[in-house]
């Protein structure tokens, strides 16, 4: 295992310490329980927007803490949902008297831990709403299954909801907006390589030189299908088809598009992917009005990409354009 780390057991606290040292103007880090929160929290009168998840997806979520995005983010162990006390204490720290909005990715662990935290908070009189992100089209949505994974749309939702909270949306309006964002986002990902969890010391799965994994999640788990490696344009078609067909996206739709690196894929390759995504959208009459190209929701050093399309209306776009100032996303200020 080749990583720039010290003791594998200390990866999460050490990375958080480094973040705290690097961005004292933007964030503070609380340990035991671990959470990252805005340096200027609490913001009185504003709904507190919090999220969290396993570590290993950086910059999501801890890199998105700051003005216009998250008030707090709770990092679990690598690929492990955070525990209720993290969300409970983070929420209390950043609560501004206007309630708490939790953005929760649809995994059994994330859902249960955030639910338990919400129960604790409500038990103490806090208003809490949750928005569930379940946008990964690699998995069929089914009543009797775990449902779809929460992936790329999470990043877009955090931006849009964070801006809306700055704009003074109340908790109910935020939750409704969040659900609308969640319903209109679709993602799919693929991997060229696996990743290595530090405390495990070897890759979670092995891919041959000629193989790729289609329909991956963000926790390094194997995907839906293992297939022979193809060229980028064919891979993009492979990912875009279920994304477009599922909502479905239609001619005339305006979308925010994220072409995301799983961590180990360089920027030039992401632009090669974006080129094909743009071509497919153009051919389908879909207008990409905003985009993100880079590493936003990763799986440690995994090589691969995920594509997210969010059908956006004027409200979402205005909120997208609202200023944001976090370690990993910044514009307008």
């Amino acid at each position: 295992m080749k990583k720039l780390i010290n003791d594998p057991m200390n990866v999460v606290p050490e990375a958080l310490e480094g973040m705290a040292k690097a961005h004292p103007d933007l964030i503070k880090v609380h340990f035991n329980p671990n959470y990252v929160y805005r340096a200027d929290a609490p913001r009185p009168g504003k709904v507190a927007v919090i999220s969290g998840g396993g570590s290993g997806h950086e910059p999501m979520h801890v890199g998105f803490v700051g003005y216009g995005m998250l008030d707090a983010a709770c990092p679990g162990a690598v690929f492990t949902s955070p525990t209720p006390d993290q969300m409970y204490e983070a929420a209390k720290t950043v609560h501004g008297g206007a309630g708490i909005l939790m953005i929760v990715k649809n995994y059994a662990g994330d859902v249960m831990n955030f639910d338990m935290a919400a129960d604790l908070l409500r038990g103490e009189g806090y208003q809490v709403e949750s928005v569930l992100i379940a946008d990964d089209v690699a998995v069929e949505s089914s009543l009797y299954s775990q449902g779809r994974r929460g992936t790329g749309t999470t990043v877009l939702a955090e931006k849009i909801l964070g801006a809306a909270a700055e704009r003074g949306y109340d908790l109910q309006r935020l939750a409704a907006l969040g659900r609308r964002v969640a319903e209109n986002g679709r993602s799919m990902g693929m991997a060229l390589t696996s990743c290595t969890v530090p405390h495990v010391g070897k890759p979670t799965f092995e891919l041959g030189e000629d193989e790729m994994e289609i329909g991956i999640g963000i926790h390094g788990e194997p995907g839906r299908y293992r297939e022979p490696l193809k060229k980028a344009d064919e891979i993009v078609e492979r990912l875009m088809e279920p994304i477009l067909n599922d909502l479905p996206f239609k001619a005339g739709d305006r979308v925010i598009c994220m072409v995301n690196s799983m961590g180990g894929t360089p920027l030039s390759e992401l632009y090669i992917v974006y080129r094909k995504v743009a071509e497919i959208c153009e051919k389908s009459g879909i207008q990409i009005v905003r985009n993100l190209v880079g590493a936003y929701i990763t799986s440690l050093e995994m090589a691969g990409t995920s594509i997210t399309l969010l059908r956006a209306d004027d409200e979402m776009l205005e909120l997208w354009d609202h200023p944001v100032k976090t370690p990993a996303l910044r514009w307008g200020m």
Binding site: F79, S81, A108, G109, T204
Partner: protein, 212 residues
């Protein structure tokens, strides 16, 4: 003979040891159909409880199990934290103030714990989860007691059923949890959560083997 409070403590100490020994094994199972963290999660949780145990080891069984449950919730994370947390919490609620467990006490506690897991996780038999080891284990224990088996024998039946249930997850296609994202590819692999459940119940049967 009932299971005494100190026997419960011994059981939980054995759980911690067994989960530490099997950390890499559970990791491996969770790598095949998950994100490779189940071994570390369970080990972390029980180690955290071992640090707390001295402060509750002289209390009633309910307090000990509730402390375990809350510790797991606060330290395990993932799917296992809330599920095992609820499991032991509900067991603890059912055994409040008790200093010993009769077979009926154990059956009720186990049932309460499993019901908590099912309520929280919404898994059903055949979904390829810990429930597939826990439920058969409970049924086997209850049946053994109905058949007037001794406590010790019933615990053995419980452990054997847990083992069978764990192995029965191998061919299943997961419908809950992270393995469900793999679809058909989840078949052919033993579920990590069912495995840790088996280890926990087996630890009870082994620790309490002297109980007749």
């Amino acid at each position: 003979m009932p299971v005494m409070r100190d026997d419960v403590v011994a059981w939980l100490e054995r759980c911690a040891a067994v989960l530490e020994e099997n950390r890499d094994y559970l990791t491996q199972l969770d790598a095949a159909i998950g994100d490779a963290d189940h071994g570390a999660n369970m080990d972390r949780g029980f180690k955290a409880f071992m640090a707390k145990l001295p402060s509750v080891a002289d209390k009633d069984i309910g307090t000990i199990l509730k402390t375990l449950g809350m510790t797991l919730v606060a330290t395990v994370g993932g799917a296992g934290g809330p599920l095992y947390g609820t499991f032991f919490l509900q067991m603890g609620v059912k055994t409040a103030n008790k200093l010993m467990l009769t077979p009926e006490d154990w059956a009720e506690a186990l049932e309460a714990g499993i019901n908590g897991v099912i309520a929280r996780g919404q898994a059903r038999p055949g979904d390829k989860t810990m429930v597939d080891a826990l439920l058969p284990a409970l049924e086997a224990f209850k049946e053994a007691i109905r058949n007037s088996d001794s406590f010790g024998k019933a615990l053995q039946r419980m452990a054997e059923a847990a083992e069978q249930g764990m192995k029965a997850t191998i061919p299943m296609v997961a419908r809950k949890g992270r393995a469900s994202y793999l679809g058909e590819r989840s078949a052919g692999h033993q579920d990590p959560g069912a495995t840790s459940s088996y280890l926990i119940l087996k630890a009870a049967a082994d620790t309490w083997g002297h109980v007749t």
